[in-house]
């Protein structure tokens, strides 16, 4: 069944139906039309630097195994044994020449090839064609500035095209200095009872909630007091559902650690030279790569995937990243401040979970569900800005990015194929 998307999202009027946060049919269609088609983030290159290194993750609800083969190239497969569908690799990361399924012992190489099957001669009479039973690969895999993405859809546009104007904004997070970024070891993983779109839209454009939702952390000194600043800054939609929150050029929202504030100032000329004149106009601090990768570079430097686990649940997988070229004391300050701000115990992040949970749970009420959500802030006060490469709000607070995020969502949900999608 294909749910009728008409009327669920009205981006012209800034209205979104609450049905899309709760209804199982709509969720199933999201798995098909969004998660099985879009480019999804898998992991960072610095997590799997050596031949044989692997990392296990999900694309939508499909378990995926990302592996660097013995020759050094990265591949990704369904982490599912071809025999009876057992989960093949049960570790979160490691190094492998081969992995053997725990059920009957089929063995796969780090290129995804089925290399050994017990009782092949006696029980299968040597008649099983191993080549037909390799791991199922993703349709396309590519890397942008160390971030590895894949899609299950052979018809999806290439990654660079999928990112479009978002690429520059990714540069502003991941390619500020020579060498780009690396991740701190370990991934925060935790369960939140909310729909995946709530955190995705929040990181994509909710500058509004910061000075209220996070006031306790700001008051307790976990951030500079950016509540009181009234700089420029804008919500930017670089297209295709991607969203970025920016401050005015030169503004930062770092944790108030002297070494971090100094590091931002000291590296600024180099960063501007590298990123170009747009970096004088805007400082991107938070954003969402459609659909479910979000990045923050303010009081914490983190990127995270909102893995969908049913309409009302997600797993957050969050990393902390640092400029590779940063000195050790800056990396350490970013590690410590990163996890104190964002992550399960984050003094900012812990207050978000509650709100997303309740926004999801109240959608259960059939009467509550009749009333659309309001995403009207700044409606009509946004314009296409060629210098910023996207639709930008006229004021630093707006729900213009929300409207673009949900417009893209509705377009993808309605489109049978990539060619049917509006630009």
């Amino acid at each position: 069944m294909v749910a009728e998307m008409q009327g669920l999202v009205n981006s012209e009027r800034g209205l979104v139906s609450r049905r899309i946060f709760i209804e199982p049919d709509i969720y199933q269609q999201e798995l098909e039309r969004i998660f099985a088609r879009c480019w999804l983030f898998l992991c960072h290159q610095s997590q799997i630097p050596n031949p044989g290194d692997y990392f296990t993750t999900y694309m939508g609800e499909d378990p995926v195994l990302v592996m660097r083969d013995s020759g050094g190239s990265v591949n990704a497969f369904l982490n599912v044994c071809r025999h009876r569908g057992n989960r093949l690799c049960r570790a979160e990361s490691g190094n492998a020449a081969t992995i053997t399924c725990a059920y009957h012992g089929w063995t796969f190489g780090n290129t995804g090839k089925l290399v050994a099957v017990p009782n092949l001669q006696d029980a299968y009479f040597g008649e099983l064609d191993l080549d037909q039973w390799n791991l199922i690969p993703v349709a396309q895999l590519d890397d942008y500035k160390g971030m590895i993405f894949a899609t299950f859809d052979p018809d999806a546009p290439p990654l660079r095209e999928y990112l479009g104007e978002m690429a520059w904004y990714l540069d502003s997070f991941f390619d500020r200095r020579e060498g780009g970024v690396e991740v701190v070891g370990g991934v925060h993983k935790w369960v939140v009872p909310c729909n995946w779109k709530l955190p995705a839209e929040n990181f994509g454009g909710d500058a509004y909630h910061v000075s209220w939702s996070h006031l306790s952390a700001i008051r307790a000194g976990f951030a500079g007091d950016f509540r009181l600043r009234n700089t420029g800054g804008s919500l930017v939609s670089p297209g295709q559902g991607h969203c970025v929150i920016t401050l005015g050029g030169g503004d930062i929202a770092e944790a108030p650690e002297p070494e971090l504030v100094a590091y931002e100032q000291d590296t600024r000329p180099e960063v501007v030279a590298r990123l170009g004149p747009r970096a004088e106009q805007v400082s991107p601090i938070v954003g969402t790569v459609f659909p479910n990768l979000s990045i923050i570079r303010s009081t914490s430097h983190s990127f995270r995937v909102w893995h969908p686990k049913g309409p009302g649940e997600i797993e957050i997988w969050a990393w902390i990243f640092v400029d590779k070229a940063a000195p050790p004391q800056v990396k350490e300050a970013l590690r410590v401040n990163g996890l104190r701000g964002f992550g399960p115990s984050g003094t900012f992040e812990q207050d978000d979970m509650d709100n997303w949970q309740e926004c999801t749970h109240t959608s259960r009420g059939v009467v509550s569900r009749r009333y659309d959500l309001n995403m009207q802030m700044g409606l009509g006060h946004e314009e296409y800005r060629p210098d910023l490469g996207g639709l930008a709000s006229d004021y630093r607070l707006s729900e213009s990015n929300h409207r673009q995020f949900y417009r893209r969502w509705a377009d993808l949900m309605a489109a049978e194929q990539w060619q049917d999608l509006p630009a």
């Binding site: 044989g52 570790a91 939140v192 307790a220 115990s345 207050d351």
Partner: protein, 182 residues
């Protein structure tokens, strides 16, 4: 410091009293038990194949990653000092700490207390297990289960915590957040 039945009893009582302060939300009194040089650290668990696993044939032994706990320079659920814990308490005092507003109701259960001497005669190492039960709102329930390794320092009549390593048993935390103290 020598481990005696009296000392064990004294440390157990100290840990129970600490738990009561936390459950009663007397966080500033709890903070008085924290030493100036405290490291309060909750690393993360993960699923790894052990070195003897036959599920995997490593290409390069050196990168097999068999440790299931993040290390000091890696991510942690919490990595705190006395000063940062006090800032967390001040956050709760602000009237804007939505994750704890209305507050959690918690119950700490501390067991399996074992003592071990350290090189420092003023300090003792205490291992314990814990269950932290949290309920909040109408029917939210979380169980945080794990172990602690403390180093406690004798200060006059009482003790201060100078090191606490908290190891949760879960890899993917089933709680939506960690807004309580352990």
């Amino acid at each position: 410091m020598q481990v005696t039945p009296d000392l064990l009893r004294e440390i157990e009582q100290f840990l129970y009293r600490e738990a009561r302060l936390l459950d009663n939300r007397q966080f500033h009194r709890w903070a008085e038990l924290l030493a100036e040089d405290l490291r309060y650290w909750m690393p993360m668990r993960s699923n790894r194949y052990p070195a003897n696993s036959k599920a995997i044939a490593s290409l390069d032994e050196a990168h097999q990653e068999t440790h299931d706990l993040t290390e000091a320079h890696e991510l942690a659920v919490m990595d705190e000092t006395r000063e940062s814990l006090i800032r967390r308490i001040e956050r709760l005092d602000s009237g804007f700490a939505w994750a704890e507003d209305p507050p959690s109701r918690t119950r700490h259960f501390i067991s399996n207390v074992e003592l071990e001497p350290t090189e420092n005669p003023a300090e003792i190492r205490a291992y314990s297990n814990f269950i932290l039960y949290r309920t909040r709102g109408e029917r939210e329930e979380d169980f945080y289960v794990g172990s602690r390794e403390d180093i406690l320092r004798r200060t006059g009549e009482t003790w201060q915590i100078t090191y606490r390593k908290i190891v949760l048993d879960q890899s993917v935390l089933s709680a939506k957040n960690v807004s309580n103290f352990f």
